[in-house]
């Protein structure tokens, strides 16, 4: 999966991921409310997503449906991050996360559990 999405496109995807499929009009109303984009702006971004294969459009009513899931995007981005900055080694990424002190004790526990379950 090598769809590269800009922040603006991720924002639109986010709406679909949270609320499921909906019409373009509804998306634009929502985003107008939330971040002040006008209708044209939102439609432009939606069309970009369609062009990139992230959204599927169906008639009637310009119905939008996400073609990729949030998990897929997360995995792809994480993989790219590991490849780009951590020399392909996830360990280094973990080390960086742990060392930054931004992970709470609770989260570390959860991580440990996840590792155990994988074994």
């Amino acid at each position: 999966m090598s769809i590269k999405l800009f922040d603006s496109e991720l924002k639109v995807m986010d709406v679909l991921w949270k609320e499921g499929g909906m019409t373009a009009k509804k998306i634009s109303d929502l985003l107008k409310e939330e971040i002040g984009w006008n209708m044209n702006t939102t439609y432009t971004v939606i069309k970009k997503c369609i062009a990139k294969g992230a959204i599927e459009r169906s008639e009637p009513n310009f119905m939008c449906r996400a073609l990729i899931s949030k998990q897929e995007v997360q995995a792809a981005e994480a993989e790219e991050l590991v490849g780009k900055l951590f020399d392909g080694s996830p360990n280094l990424l973990f080390a960086s996360l742990l060392g930054s002190g931004k992970i709470s004790g609770e989260q570390i526990e959860k991580l440990r559990q996840m590792i155990d379950e994988m074994k």
């Binding site: 922040d7 603006s8 924002k11 971040i35 006008n38 702006t41 432009t44 971004v45």
Partner: protein, 476 residues
């Protein structure tokens, strides 16, 4: 003032500002240059003319032309017939306008006009296209929840300040004239609160100074004067000076040590790109060195500095942006109505109530001929020069001729009396010949000698032609 005239005057003014900047950039408050560049842009854009005794152009020998050169001036204007109105409308008693009239041929050539307008259109299209393509990117910026930004916005006096984040830019910028928005690049160090504050202060300074609108003004001036290299210089330097002015504003807002901290903050962002033809204000890299040096030399605001700066601006404007003052003249612009009306005054026009000496020449119509043509011409000319009469291009019936194909001219005094109704022709070497229209003249029988575009019959043996003296011989 015609376009070429404005362009030349503008160039002189720009040169003056350039020299001033080269000498004293560090020592003057940067707002000085912001204002001076604005004066230059306004000078380039607007056709008004401010004659002044203090104008530098008074120094030029041709600034207060002799009677003979006045003749030449109008003779040329008459001969050309199809004058550009902006030039005809500004035939003035200064050498520059004279030059502009002579060079009017330059602009009248269709080929050159086409080139000029093509240049304007191209450059204008470039700016519009570039502005539009950036604006499309800016639209999709997202608001930010960053606490530092929120705190900063809360402190500003202006409500509804928009700060957004965009992942498609590399350096911060401000856009929008009516609803300004500050855009921050996603890839910046959000933890560095100090730098963040400086960036926001700088961009906000752009908003407070009205730089978005200023940039548009400079761009329009550049489009209209694209052929003038001085205007390109102005465009680049004006944009730079807007940045320097914002830097100065930020540093002055801060307290002790703000200078050093701000300079370091700029250096921290040095990898960000420069976009020379951008319509948006942004941190720029190439001019970075100039900015750092300028920042390190910013002085405290002082009354003396402000006074000095104001004096400089006023002085430069008075010297360079004005036009020559002819003698004791009260100058009048050519009237805007009617094609080719040229009003020239060299002495004060009579005050209201004061009577215009009623000496009229030869009666109201050519039927009442009492003097020879040359005498009439001289006297009518005198009246014109004194502001008591004006010359109008007309058709063969004496009605104002808007078509641009003048062959006749009427000299009319302030009361509307026709002092002289004459037909003019031109000879190949550019000297107008004026002859009186006989009372019984029949337009179809008119004979002309070598009209510029070859129209009209040519008859060198026509008696009227032979007995005419050329206009330039009638003068002092």
């Amino acid at each position: 003032m015609g376009l070429l005239h404005r362009s030349m005057t503008g160039a002189v003014l720009i040169l003056a500002v350039f020299l001033l900047r080269a000498l004293a950039l560090r020592r003057l408050p940067k707002v000085t240059f912001w204002v001076l560049w604005m004066v230059a842009a306004v000078r380039l854009l607007f056709p008004f003319s401010i004659p002044s005794r203090l104008s530098l152009y008074n120094l030029f020998p041709f600034s207060a032309p002799s009677r003979l050169s006045l003749y030449k001036l109008v003779a040329k204007a008459v001969q050309d017939g199809t004058l550009e109105h902006d030039i005809a409308g500004s035939v003035q008693l200064d050498g520059m306008a004279w030059w502009a009239v002579q060079k009017g041929d330059f602009l009248r050539s269709t080929a050159l006009k086409t080139v000029y307008f093509a240049g304007c259109a191209l450059l204008g299209a470039y700016f519009l296209a570039s502005y539009f393509s950036w604006w499309k990117k800016f639209r999709v910026a997202l608001p930010t929840q960053h606490t530092g930004v929120g705190q900063w916005a809360g402190k500003q006096k202006r409500a509804g300040l928009f700060v957004r984040v965009l992942d498609q830019i590399k350096s911060p910028l401000t856009y929008g004239i009516f609803r300004p928005v500050i855009l921050l690049p996603k890839a910046m160090d959000w933890e560095d609160g100090e730098t963040l504050t400086y960036i926001l202060d700088h961009e906000y300074a752009h908003i407070r100074h009205g730089d978005a609108l200023a940039k548009v003004i400079f761009a329009v001036a550049l489009c209209m004067h694209w052929f003038n290299p001085a205007v390109w210089v102005m465009y680049f330097l004006a944009n730079r000076d807007m940045e320097l002015y914002c830097d100065e504003t930020v540093v002055r807002m801060g307290g002790q040590g703000a200078r050093e901290k701000y300079a370091l903050a700029l250096l921290r962002m040095e990898e960000w790109k420069k976009q020379p033809f951008s319509m948006y204000s942004h941190f720029s890299g190439n001019a970075l060195k100039e900015r750092i040096v300028a920042i390190m030399k910013i002085r405290k605001k002082s009354v003396l500095g402000v006074v000095f700066a104001v004096g400089l601006v006023a002085g430069t404007t008075m010297l360079f942006a004005t036009s020559a003052f002819a003698g004791d003249a009260k100058k009048e612009e050519g009237s805007k109505g009617g094609s080719g009306t040229v009003m020239i005054s060299a002495t004060p026009t009579p005050a209201p109530g004061e009577e215009v000496p009623p000496e009229r020449i030869g009666g109201e119509t050519p039927e009442n001929d009492t003097g020879s043509f040359d005498q009439k011409w001289d006297e009518a000319w005198d009246k014109m020069v004194n502001g008591e009469a004006s010359m109008v291009f007309v058709d063969e019936n004496g009605n104002p001729d808007e078509s641009g194909e003048h062959q006749y001219v009427k000299i009319v005094d302030q009361d509307g009396n026709v002092l002289l109704f004459a037909r003019y022709t031109s000879m190949g070497d550019g000297i107008a010949e004026i002859g009186e229209v006989p009372a019984d003249h029949n337009a179809e029988e008119d004979h002309f000698v070598d009209k510029p575009d070859g129209a009209g019959k040519s008859d060198e043996n026509h008696p009227k032609t032979q007995e005419k003296e050329t206009v330039t011989e009638n003068g002092q």
